[in-house]
């Protein structure tokens, strides 16, 4: 059995890295380039996000990379040798990711 609580945060970091690497480029092409180049219209995209599965996708796309970033940034304290700053930085970083996740959840549920 794993002995450290770190395993939980690392799993979110790992999943966030996969999401960032695989899904961000596709999403950027669709929302950034495809509309600009006229391949799809903004109305098409708006219709698309009405689909619950697309909203779930957006939630995952926002939440997991936030935990990825939080983990990476909080581990900077190890790389910089600031051992005493580890706990405060973890609270700030993971806290921000949790807040971002809650906001994303509210956003995709209420359609904001």
């Amino acid at each position: 059995m794993p002995r450290s609580k770190e395993v939980f945060w690392w799993s979110l970091f790992s999943a966030g890295g996969v999401v960032s690497a695989f899904f961000f480029p596709a999403t950027i092409i669709i929302t950034g380039l495809a509309v600009t180049l006229g391949w799809v219209t903004a109305e098409d995209l708006h219709a698309l996000v009405q689909n619950p599965l697309v909203r779930l996708y957006l939630f995952v796309l926002i939440s997991l990379p936030l935990f990825h970033a939080a983990h990476r940034l909080s581990h900077l304290t190890i790389d910089l040798g600031l051992a005493h700053a580890r706990r405060p930085s973890a609270i700030v970083c993971y806290g921000a990711a949790i807040v971002g996740t809650l906001l994303a959840a509210v956003g995709v549920i209420t359609g904001l």
């Binding site: 059995m1 794993p2 002995r3 450290s4 770190e6 395993v7 939980f8 690392w10 799993s11 790992s14 581990h75 190890i78 790389d79 040798g81 051992a83």
Partner: protein, 251 residues
């Protein structure tokens, strides 16, 4: 005969004579085919017999001649003077370890870590001699073979910025070797190693800088071993949360 000299600045620390370390400059004949260890041996034999350093095989197998050469961890038997000459070569003990004397480092911490992670075979089932060998297929061997080529030279520890700041970190080679046995189909010691491997000073301290894999003279890729160990621990964690999750027996 060499018609030019190579210059080495060698770290000297002789606690019986001087409390502070110094650098001493030596000029040795420059030969195309000489490695840095040849130059150190020349110094020891012809210029200064008081210089202390470890070496044995001269062929990248024993792992004892690791030193910092111009700031980078190297096996001194595997880097040539011509790789640096005419640049001055600064030879120092491996970074991150206590120095006993000159270029000789104290390996106790590393040896203790190898013991803590139980970097040896813990057979899944005991077999008597009459029962014969522990058989393994080529595919099963291939899973861990890369990690088994570690020669314990500790260059990866000298390269690791995490170990450099936090010596409680189990570190690259010990984790790679623990992973080597965890991935061995004949081994059943995963749970015993998990205690050390996955605690707060284990794999989670690694921030995946990856310099351990860059400096490894045997292409062990300890950074990959550490990330694989993290994935194993993560799978176990989520398996343990569900009632139908089976406890793992092999990686």
């Amino acid at each position: 005969m060499a018609d030019e000299n190579a210059i080495l600045e060698v770290f000297r620390y002789q606690p019986d004579q001087k409390s502070e370390p110094t650098f001493q400059r030596y000029e040795v004949p420059f030969h195309e085919e000489w490695v840095v260890l040849d130059a150190l041996n020349y110094i020891k034999d012809h210029l200064d017999g008081t210089l202390s350093y470890r070496w044995s095989c001269r062929m990248g197998i024993c792992g004892s001649c690791g030193m910092m050469v111009n700031g980078d961890p190297k096996l001194t038997c595997s880097v040539f003077l011509r790789d640096y000459h005419p640049q001055v070569m600064r030879v120092e003990p491996l970074r991150g370890f206590p120095v006993i004397r000159d270029l000789v480092i104290d390996l106790d911490d590393f040896m203790n870590k190898m013991t803590e992670v139980k970097a040896w075979m813990i057979p899944k089932e005991e077999r008597s001699i009459e029962q014969g060998e522990y058989l393994q297929s080529p595919a099963q061997l291939a899973r861990y073979r890369q990690y088994s080529t570690c020669i314990n030279c500790t260059l990866c520890y000298a390269a690791c910025p995490v170990y450099g700041r936090h010596t409680e970190f189990v570190g690259p080679a010990a984790i790679a070797l623990a992973q080597r046995y965890n991935m061995d189909s004949r081994d059943g010691g995963y749970e015993e190693r998990a205690e050390t491997l996955f605690d707060e000073h284990g794999v989670w301290m690694c921030t995946f800088v990856g310099d351990c894999s860059r400096v490894c003279p045997k292409n062990v890729d300890p950074a990959a071993a550490i990330q694989q160990a993290k994935v194993s621990a993560t799978k176990d964690f989520y398996r343990s949360l569900v009632p139908w999750g089976k406890r793992r027996t092999e990686t």
